[in-house]
Protein backbone atom coordinates (compact mmCIF):
# COMPACT_ATOMS: atom_id res chain seq x y z
CA UNK A 1 0.00 0.00 0.00
CA UNK A 2 1.58 3.21 -1.18
CA UNK A 3 1.19 6.09 1.21
CA UNK A 4 2.95 8.89 2.98
CA UNK A 5 1.91 9.87 6.47
CA UNK A 6 3.45 12.77 8.32
CA UNK A 7 2.48 13.74 11.82
CA UNK A 8 3.35 17.09 13.38
CA UNK A 9 6.66 17.07 11.61
CA UNK A 10 9.11 19.92 11.85
CA UNK A 11 12.35 20.31 9.98
CA UNK A 12 15.00 22.44 11.67
CA UNK A 13 18.28 23.12 9.97
CA UNK A 14 21.21 23.69 12.25
CA UNK A 15 23.37 26.52 10.96
CA UNK A 16 26.94 25.79 11.82
CA UNK A 17 28.97 28.88 11.24
CA UNK A 18 32.70 28.45 10.90
CA UNK A 19 33.12 28.62 14.65
CA UNK A 20 30.63 26.13 15.89
CA UNK A 21 31.44 23.68 13.13
CA UNK A 22 35.02 23.34 14.26
CA UNK A 23 36.32 21.35 17.14
CA UNK A 24 38.20 24.37 18.39
CA UNK A 25 35.30 25.77 20.22
CA UNK A 26 34.31 22.51 21.82
CA UNK A 27 37.83 21.91 23.03
CA UNK A 28 38.90 25.41 23.94
CA UNK A 29 35.51 26.25 25.33
CA UNK A 30 35.87 23.61 28.00
CA UNK A 31 39.27 24.84 29.05
CA UNK A 32 38.45 28.48 29.18
CA UNK A 33 35.30 28.16 31.20
CA UNK A 34 31.92 29.51 30.27
CA UNK A 35 32.55 32.62 28.30
CA UNK A 36 30.36 32.14 25.31
CA UNK A 37 26.70 31.50 25.79
CA UNK A 38 26.39 30.26 22.26
CA UNK A 39 26.43 26.60 23.17
CA UNK A 40 23.31 26.14 21.10
CA UNK A 41 23.60 26.11 17.36
CA UNK A 42 21.16 28.51 15.69
CA UNK A 43 18.51 26.74 13.68
CA UNK A 44 16.29 27.65 10.80
CA UNK A 45 12.82 26.26 11.09
CA UNK A 46 12.17 25.30 7.51
CA UNK A 47 8.99 23.38 8.21
CA UNK A 48 6.76 23.71 11.18
CA UNK A 49 4.15 21.29 12.44
CA UNK A 50 3.28 19.59 9.19
CA UNK A 51 0.60 16.94 9.17
CA UNK A 52 -0.03 15.37 5.78
CA UNK A 53 -1.54 12.13 4.68
CA UNK A 54 -1.26 11.13 1.03
CA UNK A 55 -2.50 7.84 -0.34
CA UNK A 56 -2.36 5.91 -3.56
CA UNK A 57 -4.21 7.74 -6.29
CA UNK A 58 -3.71 11.18 -4.81
CA UNK A 59 -2.34 13.97 -7.00
CA UNK A 60 -1.23 16.77 -4.77
CA UNK A 61 0.06 20.14 -5.95
CA UNK A 62 2.29 22.27 -3.79
CA UNK A 63 2.00 26.02 -4.14
CA UNK A 64 3.59 28.88 -2.28
CA UNK A 65 6.10 31.67 -2.67
CA UNK A 66 9.84 31.14 -3.00
CA UNK A 67 11.24 29.99 0.29
CA UNK A 68 7.88 28.85 1.58
CA UNK A 69 9.20 25.34 2.15
CA UNK A 70 7.89 23.52 -0.91
CA UNK A 71 11.18 21.84 -1.78
CA UNK A 72 11.91 21.03 1.84
CA UNK A 73 8.49 19.47 2.18
CA UNK A 74 9.17 17.33 -0.89
CA UNK A 75 12.43 16.20 0.68
CA UNK A 76 10.61 15.40 3.89
CA UNK A 77 8.08 13.36 1.95
CA UNK A 78 10.82 11.51 0.10
CA UNK A 79 12.58 10.53 3.30
CA UNK A 80 15.73 12.52 2.61
CA UNK A 81 15.07 14.67 5.66
CA UNK A 82 13.70 12.84 8.61
CA UNK A 83 11.66 15.18 10.79
CA UNK A 84 13.53 16.71 13.71
CA UNK A 85 10.29 16.61 15.65
CA UNK A 86 7.21 14.61 14.89
CA UNK A 87 7.32 11.58 12.66
CA UNK A 88 6.94 10.42 9.11
CA UNK A 89 6.14 7.10 7.53
CA UNK A 90 6.73 6.44 3.87
CA UNK A 91 5.61 3.26 2.18
CA UNK A 92 6.48 2.64 -1.41
CA UNK A 93 9.35 3.20 -3.81
CA UNK A 94 10.09 6.89 -4.08
CA UNK A 95 11.28 8.52 -7.30
CA UNK A 96 12.25 12.06 -6.46
CA UNK A 97 12.76 14.40 -9.39
CA UNK A 98 13.97 17.61 -7.81
CA UNK A 99 16.71 18.56 -10.14
CA UNK A 100 16.88 17.33 -13.69
CA UNK A 101 20.65 17.64 -13.69
CA UNK A 102 21.49 15.61 -10.62
CA UNK A 103 23.65 12.61 -11.34
CA UNK A 104 24.38 13.76 -14.87
CA UNK A 105 27.99 13.50 -15.85
CA UNK A 106 29.40 15.98 -18.35
CA UNK A 107 32.07 13.73 -19.71
CA UNK A 108 30.15 10.60 -20.56
CA UNK A 109 27.78 9.99 -23.42
CA UNK A 110 24.06 10.49 -23.42
CA UNK A 111 23.46 6.73 -23.42
CA UNK A 112 25.62 6.23 -20.35
CA UNK A 113 23.86 9.09 -18.62
CA UNK A 114 20.52 7.45 -19.30
CA UNK A 115 21.78 4.34 -17.50
CA UNK A 116 23.17 6.22 -14.54
CA UNK A 117 20.16 8.41 -14.11
CA UNK A 118 17.99 5.30 -14.16
CA UNK A 119 20.11 3.62 -11.48
CA UNK A 120 19.75 6.72 -9.35
CA UNK A 121 16.00 6.52 -9.72
CA UNK A 122 16.03 3.01 -8.37
CA UNK A 123 15.91 1.05 -11.62
CA UNK A 124 18.19 -1.83 -12.42
CA UNK A 125 20.53 -1.96 -15.38
CA UNK A 126 18.36 -4.52 -17.14
CA UNK A 127 15.22 -2.46 -16.75
CA UNK A 128 16.99 0.54 -18.18
CA UNK A 129 18.35 -1.37 -21.17
CA UNK A 130 14.77 -2.13 -22.17
CA UNK A 131 13.89 1.54 -22.02
CA UNK A 132 16.86 3.01 -23.79
CA UNK A 133 15.32 2.88 -27.27
CA UNK A 134 12.10 4.43 -26.12
CA UNK A 135 14.01 7.24 -24.41
CA UNK A 136 16.20 7.80 -27.45
CA UNK A 137 13.06 8.06 -29.59
CA UNK A 138 11.43 10.53 -27.29
CA UNK A 139 14.41 12.83 -26.92
CA UNK A 140 14.97 12.99 -30.71
CA UNK A 141 18.65 13.44 -30.01
CA UNK A 142 19.73 10.82 -32.54
CA UNK A 143 23.48 10.44 -32.92
CA UNK A 144 24.06 13.03 -30.24
CA UNK A 145 23.35 10.34 -27.69
CA UNK A 146 26.79 8.88 -28.28
CA UNK A 147 28.45 12.26 -27.74
CA UNK A 148 29.62 13.41 -24.32
CA UNK A 149 27.05 15.42 -22.43
CA UNK A 150 29.17 18.56 -22.41
CA UNK A 151 28.45 19.05 -26.11
CA UNK A 152 24.73 19.36 -25.40
CA UNK A 153 22.80 22.59 -25.19
CA UNK A 154 20.70 23.32 -22.11
CA UNK A 155 17.54 22.35 -23.90
CA UNK A 156 19.02 19.08 -25.10
CA UNK A 157 20.00 18.22 -21.56
CA UNK A 158 16.51 18.86 -20.33
CA UNK A 159 15.19 16.62 -23.09
CA UNK A 160 17.48 13.81 -22.05
CA UNK A 161 16.67 14.18 -18.36
CA UNK A 162 12.95 14.39 -19.01
CA UNK A 163 13.15 11.35 -21.23
CA UNK A 164 14.68 9.25 -18.47
CA UNK A 165 12.55 10.60 -15.70
CA UNK A 166 9.32 10.01 -17.58
CA UNK A 167 10.27 6.46 -18.53
CA UNK A 168 10.27 4.99 -15.05
CA UNK A 169 7.43 3.38 -13.10
CA UNK A 170 7.49 4.94 -9.68
CA UNK A 171 5.16 4.19 -6.82
CA UNK A 172 5.63 7.62 -5.34
CA UNK A 173 6.54 10.42 -7.71
CA UNK A 174 7.78 13.67 -6.23
CA UNK A 175 8.30 16.43 -8.78
CA UNK A 176 9.85 19.79 -8.16
CA UNK A 177 9.43 22.67 -10.59
CA UNK A 178 12.04 23.47 -13.17
CA UNK A 179 10.65 21.68 -16.16
CA UNK A 180 11.11 24.33 -18.77
CA UNK A 181 13.79 25.44 -21.21
CA UNK A 182 12.52 23.30 -24.06
CA UNK A 183 10.81 24.48 -27.19
CA UNK A 184 7.04 24.51 -27.27
CA UNK A 185 6.61 21.57 -29.64
CA UNK A 186 8.72 19.41 -27.38
CA UNK A 187 6.94 20.74 -24.33
CA UNK A 188 3.65 19.42 -25.65
CA UNK A 189 5.21 16.06 -26.20
CA UNK A 190 6.77 16.16 -22.74
CA UNK A 191 3.49 17.11 -21.19
CA UNK A 192 1.80 14.08 -22.67
CA UNK A 193 4.50 11.84 -21.29
CA UNK A 194 4.36 13.55 -17.93
CA UNK A 195 0.61 13.06 -17.76
CA UNK A 196 1.15 9.46 -18.69
CA UNK A 197 3.81 9.02 -16.04
CA UNK A 198 1.62 10.56 -13.38
CA UNK A 199 -1.14 8.19 -14.37
CA UNK A 200 1.23 5.23 -14.00
CA UNK A 201 2.60 6.30 -10.66
CA UNK A 202 0.63 5.53 -7.56
CA UNK A 203 0.97 8.89 -5.96
CA UNK A 204 2.14 12.32 -7.00
CA UNK A 205 3.26 15.40 -5.15
CA UNK A 206 4.17 18.23 -7.51
CA UNK A 207 5.56 21.63 -6.58
CA UNK A 208 5.08 24.23 -9.28
CA UNK A 209 4.32 27.83 -10.07
CA UNK A 210 2.75 26.97 -13.39
CA UNK A 211 -1.01 26.88 -13.05
CA UNK A 212 -1.68 25.00 -16.24
CA UNK A 213 0.66 22.14 -15.32
CA UNK A 214 -0.86 21.97 -11.86
CA UNK A 215 -4.34 21.87 -13.29
CA UNK A 216 -3.35 19.15 -15.64
CA UNK A 217 -1.58 16.91 -13.14
CA UNK A 218 -3.13 17.50 -9.76
CA UNK A 219 -6.48 17.22 -8.09
CA UNK A 220 -5.79 18.52 -4.61
CA UNK A 221 -3.28 21.02 -3.30
CA UNK A 222 -1.35 22.28 -0.32
CA UNK A 223 -0.45 25.93 0.11
CA UNK A 224 2.81 26.43 1.93
CA UNK A 225 3.65 29.70 3.58
CA UNK A 226 6.77 30.35 5.66
CA UNK A 227 7.15 26.73 6.59
CA UNK A 228 3.58 26.30 7.67
CA UNK A 229 0.74 24.61 5.90
CA UNK A 230 -1.56 27.50 5.18
CA UNK A 231 -4.27 25.61 3.43
CA UNK A 232 -5.09 22.16 2.20
CA UNK A 233 -7.96 21.25 -0.06
CA UNK A 234 -9.05 20.83 -3.63
CA UNK A 235 -6.73 22.32 -6.20
CA UNK A 236 -9.24 24.88 -7.37
CA UNK A 237 -10.02 26.17 -3.87
CA UNK A 238 -6.38 26.39 -2.88
CA UNK A 239 -5.35 28.16 -6.07
CA UNK A 240 -8.24 30.56 -5.69
CA UNK A 241 -7.18 31.45 -2.19
CA UNK A 242 -3.50 31.61 -3.10
CA UNK A 243 -3.80 33.70 -6.24
CA UNK A 244 -6.87 35.58 -5.19
CA UNK A 245 -8.66 34.60 -8.40
CA UNK A 246 -10.19 31.57 -9.98
CA UNK A 247 -7.49 29.62 -11.83
CA UNK A 248 -9.95 28.74 -14.60
CA UNK A 249 -10.62 32.36 -15.45
CA UNK A 250 -7.70 32.95 -17.71
CA UNK A 251 -6.51 29.68 -19.08
CA UNK A 252 -6.44 29.44 -22.82
CA UNK A 253 -9.44 27.79 -24.43
CA UNK A 254 -7.31 25.05 -25.90
CA UNK A 255 -5.97 24.10 -22.48
CA UNK A 256 -9.48 24.15 -21.11
CA UNK A 257 -10.64 21.95 -23.92
CA UNK A 258 -7.83 19.50 -23.37
CA UNK A 259 -8.44 19.37 -19.67
CA UNK A 260 -12.15 19.09 -20.20
CA UNK A 261 -11.79 16.16 -22.51
CA UNK A 262 -9.10 14.29 -20.70
CA UNK A 263 -10.23 14.71 -17.19
CA UNK A 264 -13.12 16.79 -15.95
CA UNK A 265 -11.64 18.82 -13.14
CA UNK A 266 -12.83 17.11 -10.07
CA UNK A 267 -13.69 19.33 -7.15
CA UNK A 268 -13.28 16.40 -4.88
CA UNK A 269 -11.96 17.59 -1.56
CA UNK A 270 -8.39 16.66 -0.87
CA UNK A 271 -7.10 15.51 2.43
Amino acid sequence: MTSIEVWNASVDFPIFDAKSRSLKKKVLGKVGGKIGTDSKVPVIEALHDITVSVHAGDRVGLVGHNGAGKSTLLRLLSGIYEPTRGSAKIQGRVAPVFDLGVGMDQEISGYENIMIRGLYLGMTRKQMEKRVDDIADFTELGDYLSMPLRTYSTGMRVRLALGVVTSIDPEILLLDEGIGAVDSRFLNKARDRLVDLVRRSGLLVFASHQDDLLLELCTSAIWMDEGHMRMQGSLRDVLKAYKGKDPFQNISPETAARLGIERPVSVKGGE
Binding site: K24, A88, P96, D99, E107
Partner: protein, 310 residues
Protein backbone atom coordinates in the same frame (compact mmCIF):
# COMPACT_ATOMS: atom_id res chain seq x y z
CA UNK B 1 13.72 2.92 -1.20
CA UNK B 2 11.63 1.48 1.53
CA UNK B 3 11.57 3.75 4.48
CA UNK B 4 10.01 1.56 7.05
CA UNK B 5 9.36 2.94 10.42
CA UNK B 6 7.11 2.07 13.23
CA UNK B 7 5.07 5.00 14.26
CA UNK B 8 2.79 4.85 17.22
CA UNK B 9 2.41 8.58 17.42
CA UNK B 10 -1.04 8.49 15.94
CA UNK B 11 -2.24 10.43 18.92
CA UNK B 12 -1.88 13.99 17.87
CA UNK B 13 0.33 15.10 20.72
CA UNK B 14 2.01 18.08 19.16
CA UNK B 15 4.28 18.56 22.12
CA UNK B 16 6.67 15.75 21.34
CA UNK B 17 9.68 17.79 22.29
CA UNK B 18 12.04 14.84 22.21
CA UNK B 19 12.82 13.33 18.85
CA UNK B 20 10.70 10.30 18.26
CA UNK B 21 12.57 7.14 19.14
CA UNK B 22 12.13 5.77 15.66
CA UNK B 23 14.79 8.04 14.20
CA UNK B 24 17.42 6.41 16.33
CA UNK B 25 16.70 2.75 16.10
CA UNK B 26 19.00 -0.19 15.53
CA UNK B 27 16.45 -1.53 13.12
CA UNK B 28 16.88 1.41 10.80
CA UNK B 29 20.65 1.48 11.15
CA UNK B 30 20.83 -2.14 10.04
CA UNK B 31 18.25 -1.55 7.33
CA UNK B 32 20.55 1.17 6.02
CA UNK B 33 23.44 -1.27 5.73
CA UNK B 34 21.28 -3.99 4.22
CA UNK B 35 19.67 -1.70 1.65
CA UNK B 36 23.06 -0.27 0.82
CA UNK B 37 24.45 -3.68 0.00
CA UNK B 38 21.50 -4.60 -2.19
CA UNK B 39 22.04 -1.50 -4.33
CA UNK B 40 25.24 -3.04 -5.58
CA UNK B 41 24.67 -1.92 -9.15
CA UNK B 42 24.55 1.69 -8.07
CA UNK B 43 27.61 1.85 -5.87
CA UNK B 44 29.77 -0.39 -7.99
CA UNK B 45 28.92 1.76 -10.98
CA UNK B 46 29.64 4.96 -9.07
CA UNK B 47 32.94 3.59 -7.81
CA UNK B 48 34.06 2.77 -11.34
CA UNK B 49 32.78 6.06 -12.57
CA UNK B 50 35.01 7.87 -10.05
CA UNK B 51 38.06 6.12 -11.44
CA UNK B 52 37.15 6.68 -15.07
CA UNK B 53 36.35 10.30 -14.30
CA UNK B 54 39.79 10.87 -12.89
CA UNK B 55 41.54 9.66 -16.03
CA UNK B 56 39.03 10.86 -18.61
CA UNK B 57 40.59 11.82 -21.91
CA UNK B 58 44.05 10.72 -20.91
CA UNK B 59 45.57 8.23 -23.30
CA UNK B 60 46.54 5.61 -20.72
CA UNK B 61 43.45 6.09 -18.56
CA UNK B 62 43.41 4.14 -15.30
CA UNK B 63 46.72 2.57 -16.31
CA UNK B 64 48.23 5.73 -14.88
CA UNK B 65 47.44 4.35 -11.43
CA UNK B 66 49.56 1.32 -12.20
CA UNK B 67 52.25 3.32 -13.88
CA UNK B 68 52.71 5.86 -11.10
CA UNK B 69 52.83 3.07 -8.55
CA UNK B 70 55.50 1.39 -10.65
CA UNK B 71 57.63 4.51 -10.81
CA UNK B 72 57.28 5.14 -7.08
CA UNK B 73 58.10 1.55 -6.20
CA UNK B 74 61.15 1.55 -8.41
CA UNK B 75 62.45 4.85 -7.04
CA UNK B 76 61.85 4.03 -3.39
CA UNK B 77 63.20 0.53 -3.80
CA UNK B 78 66.43 1.69 -5.43
CA UNK B 79 67.00 4.47 -2.92
CA UNK B 80 66.23 2.66 0.30
CA UNK B 81 67.90 -0.60 -0.57
CA UNK B 82 71.09 1.47 -1.03
CA UNK B 83 70.53 3.43 2.18
CA UNK B 84 69.98 0.33 4.28
CA UNK B 85 72.49 -1.82 2.42
CA UNK B 86 69.75 -4.28 1.66
CA UNK B 87 69.54 -6.71 -1.23
CA UNK B 88 67.39 -5.12 -3.89
CA UNK B 89 65.88 -8.47 -4.87
CA UNK B 90 63.96 -8.67 -1.63
CA UNK B 91 63.87 -5.08 -0.46
CA UNK B 92 62.23 -3.65 -3.56
CA UNK B 93 59.32 -6.11 -3.36
CA UNK B 94 59.08 -5.32 0.36
CA UNK B 95 58.73 -1.60 -0.25
CA UNK B 96 56.44 -2.04 -3.24
CA UNK B 97 54.00 -4.28 -1.42
CA UNK B 98 54.08 -2.11 1.67
CA UNK B 99 53.41 0.97 -0.38
CA UNK B 100 50.49 -0.64 -2.22
CA UNK B 101 48.82 -1.62 1.04
CA UNK B 102 49.61 1.81 2.42
CA UNK B 103 47.87 3.48 -0.51
CA UNK B 104 44.71 1.56 0.31
CA UNK B 105 44.82 2.59 3.97
CA UNK B 106 45.66 6.17 3.05
CA UNK B 107 42.77 6.36 0.61
CA UNK B 108 40.30 4.87 3.06
CA UNK B 109 41.31 7.36 5.74
CA UNK B 110 41.52 10.55 3.70
CA UNK B 111 38.71 9.88 1.25
CA UNK B 112 36.66 8.33 4.02
CA UNK B 113 36.46 11.69 5.73
CA UNK B 114 35.02 13.16 2.54
CA UNK B 115 32.57 10.38 1.80
CA UNK B 116 29.41 12.28 2.63
CA UNK B 117 30.75 15.78 2.04
CA UNK B 118 31.65 14.89 -1.53
CA UNK B 119 28.24 13.33 -2.14
CA UNK B 120 26.30 16.31 -0.86
CA UNK B 121 24.40 16.77 -4.11
CA UNK B 122 23.24 13.18 -4.22
CA UNK B 123 22.36 12.99 -0.55
CA UNK B 124 20.09 16.01 -0.89
CA UNK B 125 18.38 14.68 -3.98
CA UNK B 126 18.00 10.98 -3.40
CA UNK B 127 16.73 9.05 -0.42
CA UNK B 128 19.49 6.44 -0.65
CA UNK B 129 20.96 4.61 2.33
CA UNK B 130 24.16 6.16 3.67
CA UNK B 131 26.01 2.91 3.21
CA UNK B 132 25.75 3.33 -0.57
CA UNK B 133 28.24 6.19 -0.35
CA UNK B 134 30.46 4.25 2.04
CA UNK B 135 30.52 1.33 -0.36
CA UNK B 136 31.20 3.68 -3.26
CA UNK B 137 34.33 4.96 -1.53
CA UNK B 138 35.39 1.48 -0.44
CA UNK B 139 34.84 0.07 -3.92
CA UNK B 140 36.87 2.88 -5.47
CA UNK B 141 39.76 2.13 -3.12
CA UNK B 142 39.50 -1.55 -3.93
CA UNK B 143 39.68 -0.86 -7.67
CA UNK B 144 42.72 1.34 -7.11
CA UNK B 145 44.27 -1.45 -5.05
CA UNK B 146 43.63 -3.94 -7.85
CA UNK B 147 45.35 -1.66 -10.35
CA UNK B 148 48.33 -1.33 -8.06
CA UNK B 149 48.53 -5.08 -7.58
CA UNK B 150 49.60 -5.37 -11.22
CA UNK B 151 52.89 -3.84 -10.13
CA UNK B 152 53.12 -6.37 -7.33
CA UNK B 153 52.81 -9.25 -9.78
CA UNK B 154 55.39 -7.72 -12.10
CA UNK B 155 57.83 -7.21 -9.22
CA UNK B 156 57.32 -10.73 -7.91
CA UNK B 157 57.91 -12.17 -11.36
CA UNK B 158 61.15 -10.24 -11.72
CA UNK B 159 62.47 -11.10 -8.27
CA UNK B 160 60.98 -14.58 -8.05
CA UNK B 161 64.37 -16.12 -7.42
CA UNK B 162 65.32 -14.00 -4.43
CA UNK B 163 61.84 -14.06 -2.87
CA UNK B 164 61.33 -17.81 -2.96
CA UNK B 165 64.72 -18.54 -1.43
CA UNK B 166 64.00 -19.72 2.09
CA UNK B 167 65.88 -17.87 4.80
CA UNK B 168 66.38 -14.57 3.02
CA UNK B 169 66.81 -11.48 5.16
CA UNK B 170 65.40 -8.09 4.38
CA UNK B 171 68.05 -5.96 6.02
CA UNK B 172 71.36 -6.85 7.63
CA UNK B 173 71.09 -9.12 10.66
CA UNK B 174 67.36 -9.39 10.23
CA UNK B 175 65.37 -12.49 11.04
CA UNK B 176 65.43 -15.10 8.29
CA UNK B 177 62.18 -15.13 6.30
CA UNK B 178 60.50 -18.35 5.19
CA UNK B 179 60.27 -17.24 1.55
CA UNK B 180 57.34 -17.02 -0.84
CA UNK B 181 55.09 -20.04 -1.04
CA UNK B 182 51.50 -21.15 -0.91
CA UNK B 183 51.06 -19.25 2.32
CA UNK B 184 50.85 -16.18 0.10
CA UNK B 185 47.18 -17.03 -0.28
CA UNK B 186 46.69 -15.82 3.28
CA UNK B 187 46.85 -12.35 1.78
CA UNK B 188 43.31 -12.86 0.48
CA UNK B 189 41.65 -13.16 3.90
CA UNK B 190 44.13 -10.51 4.98
CA UNK B 191 42.82 -8.06 2.44
CA UNK B 192 39.22 -9.01 3.25
CA UNK B 193 39.97 -8.13 6.86
CA UNK B 194 41.57 -4.87 5.81
CA UNK B 195 38.54 -3.97 3.68
CA UNK B 196 36.18 -4.87 6.51
CA UNK B 197 38.01 -2.44 8.73
CA UNK B 198 38.13 0.19 6.01
CA UNK B 199 34.33 -0.06 5.99
CA UNK B 200 33.87 1.14 9.53
CA UNK B 201 36.63 3.71 9.20
CA UNK B 202 34.92 5.30 6.18
CA UNK B 203 31.49 5.17 7.82
CA UNK B 204 32.65 6.60 11.13
CA UNK B 205 35.02 9.24 9.78
CA UNK B 206 32.50 10.18 7.13
CA UNK B 207 29.73 10.93 9.61
CA UNK B 208 31.97 12.67 12.11
CA UNK B 209 33.68 14.80 9.44
CA UNK B 210 30.34 15.91 8.06
CA UNK B 211 29.56 17.46 11.41
CA UNK B 212 33.06 18.61 12.32
CA UNK B 213 34.84 19.84 9.24
CA UNK B 214 38.21 19.96 11.00
CA UNK B 215 38.51 16.20 11.11
CA UNK B 216 39.63 15.85 7.46
CA UNK B 217 42.35 18.41 8.16
CA UNK B 218 43.46 16.55 11.28
CA UNK B 219 43.70 13.31 9.32
CA UNK B 220 45.60 14.88 6.43
CA UNK B 221 48.08 16.52 8.76
CA UNK B 222 48.79 13.30 10.66
CA UNK B 223 48.84 10.90 7.76
CA UNK B 224 52.26 11.90 6.44
CA UNK B 225 53.75 11.33 9.85
CA UNK B 226 52.07 7.95 10.02
CA UNK B 227 53.68 6.96 6.74
CA UNK B 228 57.12 7.40 8.22
CA UNK B 229 56.20 5.90 11.59
CA UNK B 230 54.95 2.72 9.93
CA UNK B 231 57.58 0.24 8.75
CA UNK B 232 57.08 0.65 5.02
CA UNK B 233 60.40 2.05 3.82
CA UNK B 234 62.21 0.69 6.86
CA UNK B 235 61.97 -2.67 8.60
CA UNK B 236 61.34 -3.83 12.14
CA UNK B 237 64.63 -5.68 11.81
CA UNK B 238 66.42 -2.35 11.92
CA UNK B 239 64.50 -1.43 15.04
CA UNK B 240 65.28 -4.75 16.70
CA UNK B 241 68.97 -4.53 15.95
CA UNK B 242 69.04 -1.30 17.96
CA UNK B 243 67.86 -3.14 21.06
CA UNK B 244 69.70 -6.39 20.57
CA UNK B 245 68.25 -9.86 20.85
CA UNK B 246 66.26 -9.14 23.99
CA UNK B 247 64.02 -6.60 22.35
CA UNK B 248 60.50 -7.02 23.76
CA UNK B 249 57.32 -5.32 22.65
CA UNK B 250 58.11 -2.44 25.01
CA UNK B 251 61.11 -1.55 22.90
CA UNK B 252 59.06 -1.94 19.78
CA UNK B 253 56.17 0.21 20.94
CA UNK B 254 56.62 2.45 17.91
CA UNK B 255 55.33 -0.32 15.71
CA UNK B 256 53.31 -2.45 18.13
CA UNK B 257 51.10 0.45 19.21
CA UNK B 258 50.59 1.54 15.63
CA UNK B 259 47.39 -0.12 14.38
CA UNK B 260 48.37 0.52 10.77
CA UNK B 261 51.39 -1.75 11.23
CA UNK B 262 49.18 -4.72 12.07
CA UNK B 263 46.92 -4.10 9.09
CA UNK B 264 49.97 -3.79 6.89
CA UNK B 265 51.43 -7.05 8.15
CA UNK B 266 48.40 -9.26 7.55
CA UNK B 267 48.50 -8.37 3.85
CA UNK B 268 52.19 -7.71 3.20
CA UNK B 269 53.79 -10.56 5.08
CA UNK B 270 52.10 -13.36 3.10
CA UNK B 271 52.57 -11.53 -0.21
CA UNK B 272 56.36 -11.47 0.02
CA UNK B 273 56.86 -14.63 2.02
CA UNK B 274 57.69 -12.97 5.29
CA UNK B 275 57.28 -14.57 8.66
CA UNK B 276 53.68 -14.22 9.76
CA UNK B 277 52.49 -13.73 13.26
CA UNK B 278 49.06 -14.59 14.63
CA UNK B 279 49.11 -11.63 16.98
CA UNK B 280 48.50 -9.25 14.09
CA UNK B 281 45.32 -11.12 13.26
CA UNK B 282 44.12 -10.97 16.85
CA UNK B 283 44.73 -7.24 17.07
CA UNK B 284 43.12 -6.54 13.71
CA UNK B 285 40.07 -8.65 14.55
CA UNK B 286 39.79 -6.81 17.86
CA UNK B 287 39.95 -3.47 16.10
CA UNK B 288 37.26 -4.64 13.67
CA UNK B 289 34.90 -5.55 16.51
CA UNK B 290 35.48 -2.34 18.46
CA UNK B 291 35.45 -0.16 15.37
CA UNK B 292 32.27 -1.60 13.91
CA UNK B 293 30.51 -1.32 17.27
CA UNK B 294 31.49 2.31 17.47
CA UNK B 295 30.53 3.01 13.86
CA UNK B 296 27.16 1.29 14.33
CA UNK B 297 26.38 3.37 17.40
CA UNK B 298 27.24 6.52 15.47
CA UNK B 299 25.21 5.31 12.49
CA UNK B 300 22.23 4.61 14.69
CA UNK B 301 22.35 7.99 16.38
CA UNK B 302 23.33 10.30 13.57
CA UNK B 303 22.25 8.54 10.38
CA UNK B 304 19.25 10.80 9.96
CA UNK B 305 21.29 13.92 10.70
CA UNK B 306 23.78 13.53 7.88
CA UNK B 307 21.43 15.00 5.27
CA UNK B 308 21.02 18.03 7.52
CA UNK B 309 24.74 18.44 8.05
CA UNK B 310 26.14 18.11 4.54
Amino acid sequence: MHATSTVDAADESAATAKPTPDRRSWERAFADLRDGFTQRELWSHLGWQDIKQRYRRSVLGPLWITLSMGVTALGLGLLYSQLFDASIGTFLPYITTGFIVWQFMLGSLTEGTNTFIANEGLIKHLPAPLSVYVLRTLWRQTILFAHNMIIYFIVVTIFWGSLTKSGYVLTDAGIPQPGLGWSALLAIPGFAMLALNAGWVILLLGIVSTRFRDIPQVITSLINLMFFMTPIVWTTDILKSKFGESAGWRDLWVVELNPLYHFLQIVRAPLIGNEQSWHHWVIVAGIAVVGWSLALVVLRNYRSRVSYWV
